[in-house]
């Protein structure tokens, strides 16, 4: 019998390599699901409908399903690699082991930027939701959104600081409510329970593809919004009880949930709201599911979807804080960043310094940057991360074929998912370039500059010997 107990609160069995205080392994597959779906589901409540504005309702549906293929590939590839490289940092740690330090540094920054920007965008959205509720409840004058934006970030950071189990259990509850709200709205508006209010034929007539096929291509940019962030499940790798089982299970269940939620969302909203109104997420339909509920005439549905919108926003910000702090922590632990960030709280067992450090950064973006710019930088960082994944899995399978390392999950049809993902990333880069070319170039320029800084200065501080921790055989060809 083994002489260690990894569930012990005082001695977590992490003695072999000298860990005195490590992250706590307390999560199960449901928490992994809540982390992934929680980050993403806000994209169903708002944001995806900009795709309708780019190319009409059908274009948004095509983008929804193509982006669904892209993210199914992401989920499968991630599940295989992370069930083998089960450490905090997710794709950063994968890149470190499989590609090399410079790639790892870049991927780590993609992750931190994508999640911190998304957290800021969610806080801005929550502030806006509070102002809508204030107006609806008879408040006169303009509500100051800043205290509510700050409260969202501070409360969720505090929750993350206090422990991962409470944080992701909270996410599990509010994400489940937000997902169930979408199902209830579908049952109530589609004719399954009561009378249908959907009028697709009348609304689509003459507006099938208003901007032709280039509109479909442009819609791909916001098609990502349906699923952006599902890859965040990998950040829980060091805190799940059984990484090889829980991570693939939670991630794949998550992408299935999102495929259902995305399709139902498109079906309901496009059947009720005219495409010109639905596609204008600023002056038209800011929260399409909530607007659909309002048009249903049911007060109960309005309340349910109102809470669903707020819960989805909070769940996303909560998951983003969790993920950004793990990526930052992992980089600090390897000295890719100052080692000070690699500290774990001895009581709460969380990367507390990383959590606190990222709070003011999120606040600066939430209070000082426009929402569409914040979202665009989040999408761009995410997209750069997705482009890395196919290269990562191809190298992983080439260096360590299936018979050399036992995986918790083996994704099927390799290399078809990798090639599909790479192709769809290329298409999406072009779509983003059509709308936000300047930001794309600026972002790539930024990563080139920080890469030079890392190569010529920072790498000398990295724990070169200690950074490769997996007990893998020598890679094939080396």
């Amino acid at each position: 019998m083994s002489d260690f107990d990894i569930t012990s609160q005082t001695m977590d069995g992490m003695g072999p390599h000298g860990t005195k205080v490590g992250l706590l392994r307390v999560l199960g597959p449901a928490h992994v699901w809540a982390l992934g779906v929680g980050i993403v589901l806000v994209g169903e409540y708002m944001g995806w409908n900009f795709a309708v504005g780019k190319g009409g309702a059908y274009a948004a549906l095509i983008a929804c399903w193509f982006a669904g293929i892209l993210y199914s590939c992401v989920a499968m590839i991630d599940s295989e690699v992370t069930s083998t490289v089960a450490s905090a940092g997710g794709q950063y740690t994968q890149a470190k082991h499989i590609v090399g330090p410079l790639m790892a540094f870049n991927v780590g920054l993609y992750l931190v930027f994508a999640y911190t920007m998304l957290e800021a965008a969610n806080a801005i959205t929550a502030g806006y939701l509070f102002s809508v509720v204030a107006t609806m409840s008879g408040h006169t004058g303009e509500l100051d959104q800043r205290p509510f934006i700050i409260l969202v970030i501070m409360f969720l950071a505090w929750l993350n600081y206090r422990g991962v189990l409470a944080t992701l259990t909270f996410n599990l509850v509010i994400t489940s409510i937000a997902f169930c709200a979408i199902l209830v709205l579908f049952l109530s508006t589609s004719g399954i329970l009561g009378e249908s209010i959907l009028e697709h034929a009348a609304l689509f007539e003459g507006h099938e593809l208003p901007y032709g096929w280039i509109g479909v291509l442009a819609a791909m940019h916001f098609g990502l919004w349906y699923y952006l962030g599902i890859e965040g499940t990998t950040q829980a790798a060091e805190e799940v009880r059984s990484p090889a089982r829980s991570l693939p299970f939670g991630t794949l269940a998550g992408i299935m949930t999102l495929l259902i939620a995305a399709t139902l969302t498109w079906f309901m909203c496009s059947g009720v709201l005219p495409w010109e109104y639905l596609g204008d997420g600023v002056n038209g339909s800011v929260a399409p599911l909530f607007d659909t509920a309002r048009l249903s005439g049911s007060t109960a549905l309005v309340w349910l979807l109102g809470f669903g919108t707020l819960f989805a926003t909070l769940a996303s910000a909560n998951g983003c804080i969790n993920d950004a702090s793990r990526a930052w922590f992992a980089m600090g632990r390897d000295k890719y960043l100052p080692g000070w960030f690699g500290a774990v709280h001895p009581r709460y067992r969380t990367p507390y310094r990383s959590i606190i450090f990222l709070v003011p950064i999120a606040l600066i973006f939430a209070l000082g940057a426009p929402l569409d710019q914040v979202i665009t930088f989040s999408i761009l960082s995410g997209l750069l991360g997705y482009t890395f994944m196919p290269l990562n899995i191809i190298l992983f399978r080439r260096k360590w074929p299936l018979e050399t390392i036992k995986r918790g999950y083996e994704h099927p049809f390799h290399p078809i998912p990798a090639i599909t993902l790479l192709t769809l990333c290329g298409v999406t880069f072009f779509a983003v370039f059509l709308g936000y070319g300047t930001q794309l170039v600026a972002m790539i320029g930024f990563y080139i500059v920080v890469s030079l800084w890392f190569h010529f200065w920072r790498y000398r501080f990295v724990n070169r010997g200690a950074q490769f921790t997996m007990p893998w055989p020598k890679p094939r060809g080396y």
Binding site: S2, F4, I6, G13, M14, P16, H17, G18, T19, K20, V21, G22, L23, R25, A86, S87, A88, G89, T93, A134, S137, G138, H139, T140, L143, D144, P147, F148, I150, L151, M154, F155, A157, W158, Y161, E238, P243, A330, R333, D334, G339, W340, G342, A343, V344, H345, P346, R347, Y352, R353, I356, V359, K406, A466, Q467, T469, M470, P471
Partner: protein, 61 residues
Amino acid sequence: MDLWNWLEYGAWALSALLGLHMAFDWLKTDSTYSEDVLTSSREGELEAMAEEHAEKHGVRS
């Protein structure tokens, strides 16, 4: 002043309270424990344990 004005003040106060709580706990933790303990976390401990366990008990994966 209506309810929402009070809620605004409440949100400012609660944010400050949560921020102060984190800052206080952070400083207390840093002054109570040595840096060696706080930054002792190492990646791949589970793999190391599995490997050690396999070696100790002659189990091959």
